[in-house]
């Protein structure tokens, strides 16, 4: 943990070398997400409701998922850009250092520019809270925190799978973007609007719904059981198969060196 803090500081120092670049990228991140916000806004301005969800509720849903995603992208960026780490040989460097490999990959990249998107997510979230008529109580606040953490861990897991694939092949990883960017775009709306099939896939294969749809129902008190609020914690378990896959990947790397 102390070492991670060290990595954190050195990345902060690097960022400060290029202040303008940092500010512009962060601003860009903000604007990109703002676009999405406008998309949702105009859509619901016209149709008013989507499968029983109002504009502010969709906004709440999206902003929470976006926060989780942004946290994951900020701190687990090292896995997201792992293919270049392998191809330029930096991974060998990581292997000759006496520390946990995963920790070093995490520390290899921290993307502070995502602060822009985080800000956007927070703005949307506040707006969503303001507009929607949710009765806030302690349990619901906890649920939101669970959702954010669960989302961050879930996306980190997907990044790890993505990185582990790099051990086997360097090409053709674009399909993974279905899960990464796709999920973020999907996540704008509560998953059930896409139909039952998607709902099932997103529950049992890659458990998006556990951090998004079901706890959202709980937040909005739409036909929800109380235990829905703990589902995001279940999604955290998704990291275990990801970790195992990563281990297999490293073993493969050690035997092929490619």
């Amino acid at each position: 943990m102390k070492l991670y803090l060290r990595y954190f500081i050195i990345h902060l120092k690097s960022i400060m070398q290029y202040k303008t670049s940092f500010l512009l990228t962060a601003l860009g991140q903000f604007l990109v997400s703002f676009n999405v916000f406008l998309g949702v806004y105009f859509m619901l301005h016209r149709f008013y409701r989507i499968k029983g969800f109002t504009f502010s509720e969709v906004l709440l849903c999206f902003s929470i998922l976006l926060m989780g995603y942004t946290l994951a992208e900020c701190f687990a960026r090292g896995f997201d850009t792992f293919s270049s780490t392998i191809s330029n040989g930096d991974f060998d460097r990581i292997m000759v250092r006496p520390r946990n490999v995963m920790l070093q990959v995490l520390g290899s990249k921290i993307e502070f520019t995502r602060v822009g998107r985080m800000l956007q997510a927070i703005v949307m979230f506040i707006y969503g809270i303001y507009k929607s008529q949710v009765d806030w109580n302690f349990n619901k606040i906890i649920t939101v925190i669970f959702m954010i953490i669960g989302g961050a861990v879930l996306f980190t897991g997907i990044f790890i799978i993505y990185a582990a694939f790099c051990f086997f092949t360097i090409e053709g990883l674009e399909f993974m973007n279905i899960f990464i960017d796709g999920a973020r775009e999907f996540g704008k709306y509560p998953v059930n609007i896409y139909g039952k099939r998607v709902l099932q896939i997103a529950t049992f294969i890659v458990p998006y719904t556990l951090v998004q749809y079901y706890p959202l129902l709980y937040l909005l008190e739409k036909d929800a059981k109380d235990w829905y609020m703990f589902l995001p914690l279940l999604a955290v378990l998704f990291i275990i198969p990801c970790y195992l896959f990563w281990k297999v990947g490293i073993k493969h790397y050690k035997s092929t060196g490619s």
């Binding site: 060290r6 060998d92 292997m95 000759v96 050690k254």
Partner: protein
């Protein structure tokens, strides 16, 4: 102490012919070819030894280094470094080794070098006092005083290489792997780096394994060389032995005026030039320049010069030994690698 016994390593390489159709075919039916990168490799390196590990590109040098540093697992064979197997005991093993990849940097690009050093201190868990002493020593020896507060991206290649080497020695490793440490450096930096490595070896008895294509590095640093080709060790011995094998050759550079040379047994014409019209003298022959290889087992140098000067009017003459580069080329040829 490094003990390597019967290490084998095979890589699977996807093969296809050129062309779009071929590329399309490989989508469904990949053809693999097995390449033996290391073939029954065995050697022992003692503590404090400096070894030059040479061989042409693709001979298996970096595969060996990767196995020794715990990055790769061999197919079979054993390797014990200070009692540990590198690929089984990675974390404990790498605490004892330092690796310099000449072509890649391990320093953080945008921050001053000292920040990178401090991060390394935490990565290797170097105690504060040990770090302070080591840093002072390295700063003095490598003359880093002025550059240590500069961001890495603003350093020249020579400055950066000095910092690289310092970075891999901070944790006081017992074994240092140097992968082409002088590549692209100017003469001054090269000599500084070489002197430093020699000094390190003297002071701390650091074992150094050096892979390089620069034979001057080898000449300046190592007493022992291991020559590898196509995954096999072809030669393991002292530099002197290797040179001696080819010491029977001297090279004569000759400027002369006269007819074409008649060479006797043991003399071979290596190059011939200057049969031009200018510089013509009264006798009608041009000023010529020839390079002649002499096999000293067959003919004495003095005798050869005597024979040559009897034939032509020698303007200038110099004798050189076969350079180590040429020795290596000859070795590669001899083993057909």
């Amino acid at each position: 102490m490094i003990q390597v016994e019967h290490i084998n390593k095979t890589f699977q390489v996807a093969r296809r012919n050129a062309g779009f159709m071929e590329a399309f075919k490989t989508l469904f039916n990949k053809q693999y070819e097995y390449i033996k990168a290391l073939d029954d490799l065995s050697f022992v390196i003692n503590d404090g030894e400096m070894v030059g590990y040479i061989g042409p590109n693709g001979a298996g040098k970096s595969s060996t280094i990767k196995i020794l540093s715990g990055i790769l697992t061999p197919d079979s064979g054993t390797c014990l470094i200070n009692g540990r197997t590198p690929w089984k005991n990675r974390v404990a093993h790498v605490q004892d080794i330092g690796v310099v990849f000449g072509q890649r940097t391990q320093l953080w690009w945008d921050v001053p070098v000292i920040d990178s050093f401090e991060l390394l201190r935490d990565i290797y868990k170097i105690p504060p006092q040990g770090y302070k002493d080591k840093l002072e020593e390295l700063i003095t020896l490598l003359n880093l005083e002025k550059i240590i507060k500069t961001p890495t991206r603003q350093l020249s290649l020579g400055q950066r290489m000095r910092c690289e080497i310092a970075a891999s020695l901070l944790h006081d490793p017992k074994i240092l792997f140097l992968d082409e440490p002088t590549i692209g450096l100017d003469a001054v930096s090269k000599i500084a780096v070489r002197n430093f490595i020699l000094d390190m070896n003297n002071r701390h008895k650091t074992t150094v394994i050096l892979t390089t294509h620069d034979m001057q590095d080898i000449e300046a640093l190592t007493k022992r060389i291991i020559l590898i080709g196509k995954g096999k060790i072809l030669l393991d011995g002292s530099l002197q032995d290797m040179k001696k094998r080819f010491a029977g050759h001297k090279r004569l550079l000759l400027d002369y005026d006269g007819r074409d040379l008649e060479l006797s047994n043991g003399m071979v014409l290596a190059a011939n030039e200057g049969h031009s019209d200018y510089g013509k003298d009264t006798s009608g022959f041009g000023l010529k320049h020839s390079i002649i290889d002499i096999d000293t087992d067959k003919i004495q140098i003095s005798e050869a010069i005597g024979k040559l000067s009897a034939q032509v009017d020698i303007k200038d003459i110099s004798i050189t030994e076969a350079s180590i580069d040429e020795v290596v080329v000859k070795l590669y040829k001899e083993y057909e690698i």
